[in-house]
Symmetry: C2
Subunit: 264 residues, 2 copies
Amino acid sequence: MPLAIVGVGLIGGSFARALRQAGYTEKIIGVSSASSTKKALASGVIDEALSLAEAAAQADLIYLSQPIQQILTTLDVLQTDALITDAGSTKAAICDRAKKLKRGRFVGGHPMAGKESRGVEHADPDLFRNRPYVLTAREPALERWIERIGARLVILDPQEHDRLVALVSHLPQLLSTALASAIGADPEAAKVAGPAAQDLTRLALSPYEIWRDIFSTNAASIDTALANFIAKLETLRAQLRSPEMEKVFTQSAAAARTLRGDHS
Amino acid sequence: MPLAIVGVGLIGGSFARALRQAGYTEKIIGVSSASSTKKALASGVIDEALSLAEAAAQADLIYLSQPIQQILTTLDVLQTDALITDAGSTKAAICDRAKKLKRGRFVGGHPMAGKESRGVEHADPDLFRNRPYVLTAREPALERWIERIGARLVILDPQEHDRLVALVSHLPQLLSTALASAIGADPEAAKVAGPAAQDLTRLALSPYEIWRDIFSTNAASIDTALANFIAKLETLRAQLRSPEMEKVFTQSAAAARTLRGDHS
């Protein structure tokens, strides 16, 4: 089945490279800006650059790896009989919009992977390896490729996905941004900042352009995650000198080890 | 001047190694547990193991690199004419206690360095390189060695030090612990956790035994830092879908770059 990647950046390019590495032999079409398709053609990430309408007519699988708002716009105009999936960081708004598709079958997706460098020139066939890859419904053809590229398949409905990423991804981003803001507001603080402050403010380097769409399409879940986190901080504040804090540290360290795949 | 390291662990051992590398030729005495002094003697980190009283009688410089509560206890019993400094993570309680010393001169210190592995076997002569090293007062003999081991000298009074580390070190620890706790409380969350959650929960792996003393000797400053941070989160929560958020991201990214020594 020919594949069309719509939005050939880090994620779309990495998906193309990962499929090739996993034995995908069909044509890979790129639909993207002139500068991205030029780089993607030159480096062999895609075989051909086409318009969305041309690609939609040829492809059996369409992979939308644009920013969220652009995915929504693409869904508004897409006419295809292909299987369609996406790589957007929130799922409810996108899956809702996809319900309006007259033709084709849509299954939402979200590879929980990324890196600081962006653009197709940083495409990495191993970007998804050992990372969760969420699908919003079962779809054997997609599931098979997700397994072959070494990702860990997770099936979640769109609302549950958005609730969970608010907690594990959007909340960490806001904590990092808020911490950098708090430290930045104190002219003396940078003088004594060590590895802890550097670690926790690394996410604050993320560009807002990605986050605007995430906040606008997942505001309710993020609001709930923030409210719960603030309540937890208030509890810790009250327990600073209490023996309860030892339990919190022990349980949190265990949770942090689980996140690292260490179940000892 | 012979040096006595009291508490030969990662920090004390690294200070000894850093001084040696920087050209320190005098004897280095270790005062520590039998197991630590055995390892420190075998690896050449110290030249001799003595009791505190013996070391205090011989040394011209005494370096207290024990946990905070043990530093306080050592100060209660220490009798010496030497220059005394310490490496405790909070300074007001320690400097207060040192005022009761009948003899010797005390200058508080705090190297803003560390690593995940503990114990003298991980002692690293470059641990302090390019890291802030706080002294609570000017002291030319100490300042010279801090420069020679490649650290960045910062002079701060004890209260200002404690206020700043509450913000750049103790608050990040509590955020990481609270986040790991929040994620750990949701049985589905680990399934979709990616690099962001791993990054922000790394500090949550820290053992509570270090933090108990920090919380008990810096509770007021930590409480203030937490209260200010909670207020900032409430502001961000109200701004989730507002254009104000772009400014916050831009300013926070600039602050995060400053913390990395990137002033572009």
